[in-house]
């Protein structure tokens, strides 16, 4: 067990170095000269240009430049954003809770909706419910999430008036609760501010549904397949023949075994969501890492674009590590070779 975890840790460390190699290459691919970019194309005297180049290490050979870059990345230094004038890492850290809160809300919603539907589909295999769910899943997998967001804004926001306008994490005029976790829903409750809590929840509804939509189909498919596999096994027949009710066999035994791979897949999806939600945040003006990234793209703030890419990739790697280790703990059948 311990050697397995150590080996995975080393593998992730190597991967992070690899990720930094890719992002360094991306930084080098950025069109135009960095000094000219820094001064917005205005003419710069040769002296200033020389000293900037020396200061940024651009006069060094490439391997040295990379090692400097890697050293900076490992210390959490991603450079300064041209658009905000602040260190990119600070910007990202400040915005990270918004992204995590939205992602977790979406995942939670997907599980609450998807798990019962997955069981239902398995128990009524090839029945009308199963077919309907299959069609719904199929269509939802073909849906661009940014488009679904716009449709929700139109139908439930503009037309029915159920959702507030998409203007971020809180309605205009509501003060931000004191920061404890960075999750507005939790912080507002801790501060005892029910008005802010309601607003935070209302603002999160539509984007969370958008995030959940793509995931629900995955949950239903995985759990349905897992349940069907478990229901065909000997222990289910044994349970039924010794007189256990179907309910006990399905929910106490089969579901417990079937749910493990579903949870694993959903956990890995969280990493992908951190990337995919970039577009959802853009549609709903949700001020997380994704919106920061999109704004950086529009401002041609390449360091910020690449910095956000690196951070999300590293978090993605850590999530996968966490899922692997957790699975090894939960399921003793996983061998650590």
């Amino acid at each position: 067990m311990i050697p397995y975890v150590l080996r995975r840790l080393v593998a992730v460390a190597v991967l992070v170095v690899g990720i930094s190699l890719v992002t360094f290459a991306l930084v080098r691919m950025v069109p135009g000269d960095p000094v000219a970019l820094y001064y917005g194309g205005m003419p710069v005297s040769a002296d200033i240009e020389q000293s900037l180049r020396r200061q940024w290490g651009l006069d060094q050979p490439l391997p040295v430049q990379y090692l400097r870059y890697l050293g900076g990345v490992l210390r959490g230094n991603l450079g300064v954003s041209l658009a905000t004038g602040r260190p990119i890492m600070d910007d990202l850290v400040r915005r990270f809770p918004a992204t995590v809160e939205l992602t977790l809300a979406g995942v939670l919603l997907a599980l609450v909706v998807g798990l019962p539907l997955g069981v239902l589909a398995a128990l009524h295999r090839n029945g009308p419910v199963d077919h309907l769910l299959r069609i719904v899943s199929l269509v939802s997998l073909g849906m661009p999430n940014f488009w679904l967001g716009l449709v929700l804004i139109f139908v439930f926001g503009y037309h029915l008036g159920w959702f507030p306008p998409a203007e971020g994490r809180l309605a205009a005029g509501i003060p931000i609760p004191e920061r404890v976790t960075g999750f507005y829903t939790i912080d507002s409750l801790l501060a005892g501010d029910l008005g802010a809590f309601r607003s935070a929840l209302a603002q999160m509804m539509a984007p969370a549904i958008t995030v959940a939509m793509g995931l629900v189909a995955v949950v239903i498919r995985m759990l349905r397949a897992g349940m069907l596999e478990e229901l065909g096994k000997d222990y289910v027949r044994t349970g039924r023949s010794k007189g256990l009710s179907p309910r006990a066999v399905y929910y106490k035994h089969a579901l417990r075994n079937a749910i493990i791979p579903t949870i694993t897949v959903v956990s890995i999806q969280i990493g992908y969501l951190l990337g995919g939600n970039v577009l959802v945040e853009a549609v709903f003006a949700w001020p997380g890492v994704g919106l920061y990234y999109i704004n950086a793209i529009n401002a041609l703030d390449y360091n910020a674009v690449i910095g956000a890419t690196l951070l999300i990739a590293v978090v993605f790697a850590l999530i996968n590590l966490f899922v692997d280790v957790l699975n090894a703990f939960i399921d003793p059948r996983i061998h650590y070779a």
Binding site: V139, M143, W147, G157, G276, V305
Partner: protein, 286 residues
């Protein structure tokens, strides 16, 4: 003689195993319909996809403009039809590029093993270390916003998937008796790879490519939506959704909703076709 040993049984076996199914038929029909719309767009509509008509802007869907008109008075139905050209072209080019680069890389790694394997597959792992859409957007941003760069970005992101499939399929095929036999008869590496192994691993690559088409369309539309793909006035679906975005909150839903529906239809078509092909070509994975 050697190549006959290697290739003849495979197409025969494939023909025997191929079973039609409803996913295949429905998905195939949807895709064919879209190809038809793309090819015959000028015959299917009297309007121009680019020409402005400021007086006729913001018309709701009607019998003259089935999908309404956008903020420049252009017929949305016409633009959706012409858009099929761009989104299909992006998907075909990007998938062909990704499969064309990824498959040989995976085959080389799986065939030669050793250092070739380590170097190629670790690079592929690096590509997979980034969430797809994020890597595609960052690449497109760094390369500069244009249709060609978007295709290139989406293609690069896709390479690793094909390499992985080709890699494991090649390793499995290398131990087959007919490959051993060809090797024993002294067939050179390139002949083993092209005549013996490639036909055996083609089915999973084709299935992946079909499913990859839908995925690629979603990625490319996402790039178009944030302005990194096709540029206005190109009637690419993602870019159209973006152009209509500010109209949606004003109640003019049609400019963004119809191109989105076209995406859903085409992606679903490719997904069905891919699932159907998998069932038809390889009953073991049912």
């Amino acid at each position: 003689m050697r190549s006959e040993v290697a290739t003849v049984p495979v197409p025969l076996a494939a023909r025997r195993r191929f079973k039609w199914n409803s996913s295949l038929v429905i998905g195939g029909s949807i895709v064919l319909l879209m190809v038809f719309a793309a090819v015959f767009a000028p015959l299917l509509t009297p309007y121009d996809p680019i020409k402005l008509d400021i007086r006729g802007r913001f018309q709701a869907p009607s019998t003259t403009h089935w999908f309404g008109t956008d903020q420049y008075g252009r017929d949305v139905f016409t633009r959706v039809l012409y858009g099929a050209r761009y989104d299909l072209l992006i998907a075909v080019l990007a998938v062909a590029f990704a499969a064309g680069v990824g498959t040989p890389l995976g085959m080389l790694a799986g065939y030669f093993r050793g250092w070739t394997d380590v170097v190629i597959m670790r690079v592929m792992d690096l590509l997979l270390a980034f969430p797809n859409i994020l890597l595609a957007m960052t690449l497109a941003a760094v390369l500069g916003p244009s249709l060609n760069n978007a295709i290139l970005a989406v293609a690069i992101v896709g390479i690793a998937g094909y390499a992985r499939i080709a890699y494991s399929a090649t390793m499995a095929a290398s131990t087959e008796v007919y490959v051993e036999a060809a090797r024993a008869l002294g067939a050179p590496h390139h002949r083993l790879l092209l005549n013996a192994i490639l036909p055996a691993i083609l089915a999973p690559i084709v299935i992946r490519g079909t499913l990859g088409m839908g995925f690629t369309i979603l990625l490319a539309a996402g790039l178009g939506f944030i302005g990194l793909g096709a540029q206005p006035p190109t009637p690419e679906w993602g870019a159209m959704i973006n152009e209509g975005r500010n109209q949606v909150i004003l109640g003019r839903w049609w400019t963004s909703v119809f191109p989105g529906l076209a995406i859903v239809l085409l992606v679903t078509g490719f997904n069905l076709l891919g699932d159907g092909l998998r069932d038809a070509l390889d009953p073991r994975t049912r």
